[in-house]
Amino acid sequence: MDLDYSADDLAFRDQVSAWLREHLPADLRGKVTHYRRLTRDDLLRWHRILADKGWIAPAWPSEWGGTGWSAVRRYIFEEACGYAGAPPLVPFGLMMCAPVLLKFGTDAQKQRFLPRIYRGEDFWCQGYSEPGSGSDLASLSTRAERRGEHYIVNGQKTWTTLAHFADWIFCLVRSDRGAERKQDGISFLLIDMKTPGITVRPLALMDGGREVNEVFFDDVAVPVENRVHDEGKGWTVAKYLLGHERMNTARIGTSQRELESLKALTAKEQKDGRPLLDDPRFRDRLSRVEIELMALSITNLRFLDRLRAGTAPGAEVSMLKITGTEIQQALTELMMQAVGPDAQPLARVGSDDADAYVAALSPRYCNYRKTSIYAGSNEIQRNIIAKMALGL
């Protein structure tokens, strides 16, 4: 048993970290570590820096620009980026649309979309959730009627992350309402956001930020060649994507960075003349989160190690998602509690960097409630484990 990476992988991690220290722009890092909003340009700027380095799509086949890294190295790379405070990579193109095209797409579709995704020329978003279909995705009702060489799409998607930035959206639509099983009769379409009939309406969240949207489709004409896989096979595509989960859903690196920020914050914050960090009440809550994170980082490596045996990750990913998000939420809550009454003001007049950081903590706590809801709520994840892993 060896809990640490191999010497080669450790060297690789050092190499990645060193490169990040040199090439991660300070302003982007500052926005990430101080919880300021990232613009479309911020996201694309970082995307292109990685693309130029050749590290933007490690998991892709090498002929399309993949790095050929092992699962362990992909994990090391992603965690190193998170720990360094790099902007998140928007997954919809790189990690969702691309794998689908690689598996089910025609050569023409691959040629047309993959290079642009790689270079960050198209900004993608995901059209899955609907007002009536959240956890129960297969009950979606956005319709696509075939008219000659087009599908005419009508309906609404919601909770559509970054749709207001997007050039393209991939959608699950109901192309056959007659189908017996609701999973059938669903097709997977790629839709140009500039197509007439598409309206994007922001869905403001309680932290005041804008990241999710409602997307309305009103007689939107989509060329048939933009359908991926056969008509009615959309659910097969969606399921493939689910099985395609990555092993970094726990976001260990990011939480380790946040934990260090929390310690720095509470070493500065005074309670009755002593650092809050030394207050046993607060410290024990912090320690339990720190210990849970230590455990999860090892659990994550253990699950990763299982991939050597060639077993595709299943319930493991759900477990990482549940525990990882619980840790992320605990950290944001501790940060808010750490600053006490200063958690109340949303923005102080002429506030400096430190004040702006403090003022961002409670909105971030609010915003991070999403982590146990999105990407398959933690309730759904528990259902998955109960069925897949425990046979209940």
């Binding site: 009950s139 005041g208 009454p341 109340q344 949303l346 102080r348 915003n367 409630r369 999105y374």
Partner: protein, 378 residues
Amino acid sequence: MNFDYSEEQQLLAASIRRLVEKQYDFETRKAIVASDTGVSAAVWRSLADLGMLALPLPSDAGGFDGGAVDLMSAMEAFGEALLVEPYLATVALAAQMIQRGGTAEQRQAWLPRVGTGDARLAFAHAERGARYNLAHVATRAARDGAGYVIDGRKSVALHAAGANALVVTARTSGAATDRDGLSAFIVASGTPGVKLEPYRTLDQMRAADIALNGVRVGADALLGATDQALPLVEEVVDFATALICAEAVGAIHYACDATLEYLKTRKQFGAPIGSFQALQHRMVDLVISGEQARSMASLACASVDSEKDPRKRMRMVSAAKVRIADACRHVAQESVQLHGGMGMTEEMKISHTFRRLTVIAQQFGDADYHLERFAALS
């Protein structure tokens, strides 16, 4: 033993509910929050007309000598409606400081106008770095002839911007965290040297940091005895704490109702999600939290009204605030989680209730602070 509200209390609660239904529906509230002042003059007027502003004031000031228990059901209604008006700042904090600590002249000068809604007040006590320690005041008031000159900075003074006068605490002696040496002053707004830096708060109210630079006040501004203001501050903050405990009960009540309703109407996998046992049991735990919180809010209000021994009063209020803080966190987090993504959106009231509950959990001391105070007083 009787847990019913008295007839007067029920009548008041009923009229408050009618008021918030008519004048404080969710859309109206949004507009008030978005407005420049962030408060509604019309609503303030209505609260005055209903006697809500005068209720806790003494009869010699046109009030009704009401206590926290008399205000409980109204505070619950405020919590359900998420009222953002300066009730806490004016009536529960500053006016109480004047009422309990002031001279007959000071009371006559301010309290009747508070009761009629013609004057608003704010409480400028907290300072950055103090956390929840009420004794931690670095602002100084130096003798200046017959009067005083005040210098310092105050933090998160609720609704200070709209106030006609501020009740300001400052050190007339001692070091920043001494229990002795604290004094209170009435400082009319616009007094030279008072500079407000207003902002919005997480729970969509207004507050301000206050810079006090060479603020000169007369001897008549002194509220109570010099150097002895801390027990008065503790008494008034306990009173306000009891009221937000009651407000929390109302907000929790709304969150539970809204979540239960959502569980019954939201369908997934062909069934209402409320038919899933895991969610049922979590809903039950929310209701239990709500009942326990209600009991402790009653205890807090009864204690600030009737408990003469300050140590016992503080112990009871701390016990209540610990349980309320735990319930606020539990109910806020779970009700949003059970609402799913929609629960996080600005357009759903539950996300606003989440924010108010989140603030109440820490306001006037979080669970850790009150656990420590509770143990120290046991």
